[in-house]
């Protein structure tokens, strides 16, 4: 038997392959990115990055209607964007099996919030699966597709960072059938046209479907009881199952793979034989509240935090096998050791830009991407960051509220892919409503934060085929913006001049600041002529430290040193040094 060590994301991709998925779509977002990326590596599957999550889901709906088994993947906040389609898709149902994967981020390793997307399943009245390791991640894709086709419903698979990014052993199904046939496409307005008259009928079917799914969840193999000692019983799902197994090896466990709708009889049967019942789950009391509604007594969130990730030690601390609660959790002791503040990469094109913004003392409405790190010291030059595309709207709102008090002192900054994702309607809003906001579009030719994915602005598709390359300037002009400039972001003087010119205007303007991400493969291998400090010229003014470049450090007696392993020779520090103390150096 073929076994591989796969991450949850890789396993989901393998599951898509083994179960005849022929179309996949998504938008990059940690920790979901690798799912669609890995699927794209299978030649048999047509896969794409869409411009945003809603578009991805819409295209997936079309593919399902066309008969294809389809998978769409996104991070938790991505499902917010796609939710408009999701809630009505629950009414229409599917044709080819349709699975939506949401990757939640408890602990907010790389997210702006910690929402528990299991509620989307309950909210939209669709079935929910939660794998607890990579093997299940693979298997649940097949299960999800079957449920989708049998019950005529989209299926939500919810993973968390600990599932998405942990690797465990997966058995491959080599004897998989390869002759998956697409379902027959047929026109059916009553099913697919959700005008009120049709939707009212489908609405009833949704409730009937939930009842059937409830019965189904009682006997599905992924919901099972692992009997141990009866004094402690655990109801759990996802990664928490692993924590419970490790911390409480003797306990009885009701392991739920399908967590909506819940198997009421199975839960009641389990609870009736257990002395002390606990629900272990991360984030919100999603299972706990539903089990309590059944009239079952249990302990859950009074023991475990509603925020962040759980761990085996936390589970052990809170539930001792002797049934008594003891010990204060050691993870709660705060370490005084200074945290490593995240920062932009050495040589990042944004370093010089945020240095300039700080000098200009502008109010900066920011957006989602690497450049959000511009909010951190030493630049501290970003003042809002909420959701994809929101920088532009927020800047307009500020102008509406504060008028002359903020005019000419306000800019919105947004990345290239973020602009395409959700920024275009916001820019139209500024033009239409006569705003005078200056918008900076960072064109670094990639979706950098999630690991450098292509997007319409790079002119390359997920399958690495060349496509039409999006032209920002033409689009922006077409939207009615008269003042558009393009600058090289590595040129500090030119960038500063452009910002000053445009912020001083009384009408809307856009600056496209070009500078490729230094981690892009095509720039990685350029000759590294890194910089060194000439100690004779250096006056120890330490202005270069204000850049926040990790390669520049202060040594004994205020001496400045540039780290050879980190420096890529971008020259930004040399541009701002008034004493020409930073010079080129080529090793060997």
């Amino acid at each position: 038997m073929l076994k591989r060590l796969l991450s949850g994301n890789e396993a989901i991709a393998r599951g898509a392959y083994e179960n005849g998925v022929s179309f996949a779509a998504g938008y990059p977002g940690t920790p979901a990115t690798e799912i669609v990326e890995e699927i794209a590596k299978y030649n048999r599957i047509d896969a794409q990055w869409s411009v945003n999550e809603k578009v991805a889901l819409d295209v997936a709906v079309g593919a399902s209607l066309g008969g294809a088994r389809t998978l769409v993947a996104m991070k938790h906040v991505g499902l917010n964007v796609a939710s408009d389609t999701l809630f009505t898709l629950s009414y229409t149902g599917v044709n080819g099996g349709l699975v939506i994967v949401t990757a939640d981020d408890p602990g907010m390793h790389s997210s702006q919030n910690e929402q528990d997307n299991r509620f989307y399943a309950k909210f939209a009245k669709i079935p929910l699966l939660e794998p607890s390791d990579s093997q299940e991640a693979k298997d649940f894709v097949g299960l999800g597709l079957s449920i989708s086709e049998i019950f005529d419903t989209p299926v939500l698979i919810r993973i968390t960072t600990a599932i998405a990014h942990s690797k465990s052993i997966v058995k491959f199904n080599i004897k998989q059938k390869t002759n998956f046939h697409n379902k027959t496409f047929r026109k059916d307005s009553a099913k697919w046209v959700m005008i009120p008259a049709n939707a009212r009928k489908r609405r009833l079917l949704v409730e009937a479907r939930l009842k059937k799914l409830k019965n189904f969840s009682e006997r599905i193999w992924c919901n099972r009881i692992e009997w141990g000692k009866r004094n402690i019983g655990i109801i759990t799902s996802s990664i928490c199952y692993q924590y419970a197994k490790e911390a409480l090896s003797d306990a009885s466990i009701l392991k739920l793979g399908m967590t909506y709708p819940l198997p009421e009889f199975l839960i009641k049967k389990f609870a009736s034989k257990i002395q002390d019942l606990y629900v272990i789950e991360e984030l919100d009391p999603f299972l706990e509240e539903q089990v309590k509604v059944l009239g079952i007594e249990l302990k859950g969130k009074e023991l475990f935090p509603q925020t962040g990730e759980l761990s085996p030690s936390l589970v052990k601390d809170k539930i001792s096998i002797r049934g008594s609660q003891n010990k204060v959790s050691s993870t709660e002791t705060i370490e005084k050791f200074p945290p490593r503040v995240p920062s932009l990469c050495p040589g990042c094109p944004y370093l010089g830009f945020f240095y300039t913004l700080k000098k200009l003392k502008l109010f900066v409405a920011g957006d989602i991407g690497c450049y959000a790190l511009g909010a951190l010291p030493p630049a501290s030059a970003m003042h809002t960051c909420i959701s994809m595309g929101s920088s532009i709207g927020i800047a307009l709102g500020l102008e509406k509220a504060m008028k002359d008090r903020i005019k000419h002192k306000l800019i919105a900054v947004i990345g290239d892919s973020t602009f395409l994702h959700a920024g275009i309607p916001e820019l139209i809003d500024v033009v239409y409503n006569k705003g005078s906001v200056t918008i900076i579009i960072f064109d670094n030719q990639t979706i950098a934060m999630t690991g450098r994915q292509d997007h319409p602005g790079t002119g390359v598709t997920l399958k690495k085929e060349s496509s039409r390359r999006f032209d920002y300037v033409k689009l922006i002009r077409a939207l009615g913006v008269k003042n558009v400039q393009v600058v090289n972001i590595y040129d500090l003087k030119a960038t500063k001049k452009a910002i000053l010119e445009e912020t001083n205007r009384d009408s809307v303007s856009v600056v496209v600041a070009k500078g490729p991400c230094i981690l892009l493969d095509k720039y990685k291998n350029r000759k590294r002529l890194f910089k060194v400090v000439n100690s004779e010229n250096c006056r120890k003014c330490h202005e270069c430290l204000n850049l926040g470049c990790a390669a520049i450090t202060i040594k004994e007696k205020g001496r400045i040193e540039i780290d050879a392993e980190l420096c890529i020779g971008c020259s930004i520090c040399a541009q701002l040094c008034r004493y020409n103390a930073i010079e080129k150096y080529a090793p060997r």
Binding site: S166, P312, E335, L519, P587
Partner: protein, 198 residues
């Protein structure tokens, strides 16, 4: 092939984004797979790409449940950077092994900076743990530092603590590193494996 402890081995590799922590972890996990054990691997990366904290957990045992290692239970802590190795010391058991480079990658500091000094951190580590092996950064060939192959050098040092044959290590490295860099990485690994440490 047999591991040092026949029942379980938990390894933590700590470092900074761009140093190749994840690749090193990938290689260790693949080596443990070869022993026939159940293996789990987990990595935590912050939002910074370069210069952010990165930690990788690798667990091998007859059956592994949690991919996350509990505090005070890791057998090895392998550090590519001193500050972040120090940060993860609480995961190591008292008689666990530390293998660490005495290199500091600084960061924009908020708070007390007096602690951030190599000697200071090493003294503290040695006070808490008996088995601390320090690899002097200056002793690592300048070439390996320039091409970012310090991870392979340290992996070479670490490989001496596991009873796994060198050829298997080489096979896995060949499989896991980019094609063009195979020779360079093998050399770096070898230099670490042969390094004589006090």
């Amino acid at each position: 092939m047999r591991l040092v402890n026949p029942r379980k081995v938990d390894v933590i590799i700590a470092g900074i984004g761009g140093q190749g922590v994840l690749l090193a972890g990938e290689i260790v996990a693949e080596m443990f797979m070869k022993t026939g054990f159940d293996v789990k691997k987990y990595e935590v990366r912050g939002i910074s790409q370069r210069t952010g904290s990165v930690v990788c957990y690798i667990r091998a045992a007859t059956k592994v449940f949690s991919p996350v290692i509990s505090e005070g239970s890791a057998d090895f802590l392998v550090g590519l950077e001193l500050i972040d190795t120090y940060r993860y010391r609480k995961f190591l058991k008292k008689d666990g092994n530390i293998i660490v480079v005495d290199r500091i990658i600084p960061f924009y500091l908020i708070g007390d900076s007096s602690i951030i000094h190599p000697n200071n951190l090493l003294t503290r580590l040695r006070r808490e743990f008996r088995r601390v092996t320090v690899v002097n950064y200056d002793r690592i060939d300048q070439y390996f530092r320039f091409v970012n192959a310090v991870n392979m050098v340290i992996l070479g040092v670490f490989s001496n603590y596991l009873n796994l044959d060198e050829q298997s290590w080489q096979e896995v490295i060949k499989k896991k590193v980019p094609h063009k860099t195979v020779d360079m990485n093998l050399k770096a690994f070898k230099s670490g494996r042969r390094m004589i440490l006090k």
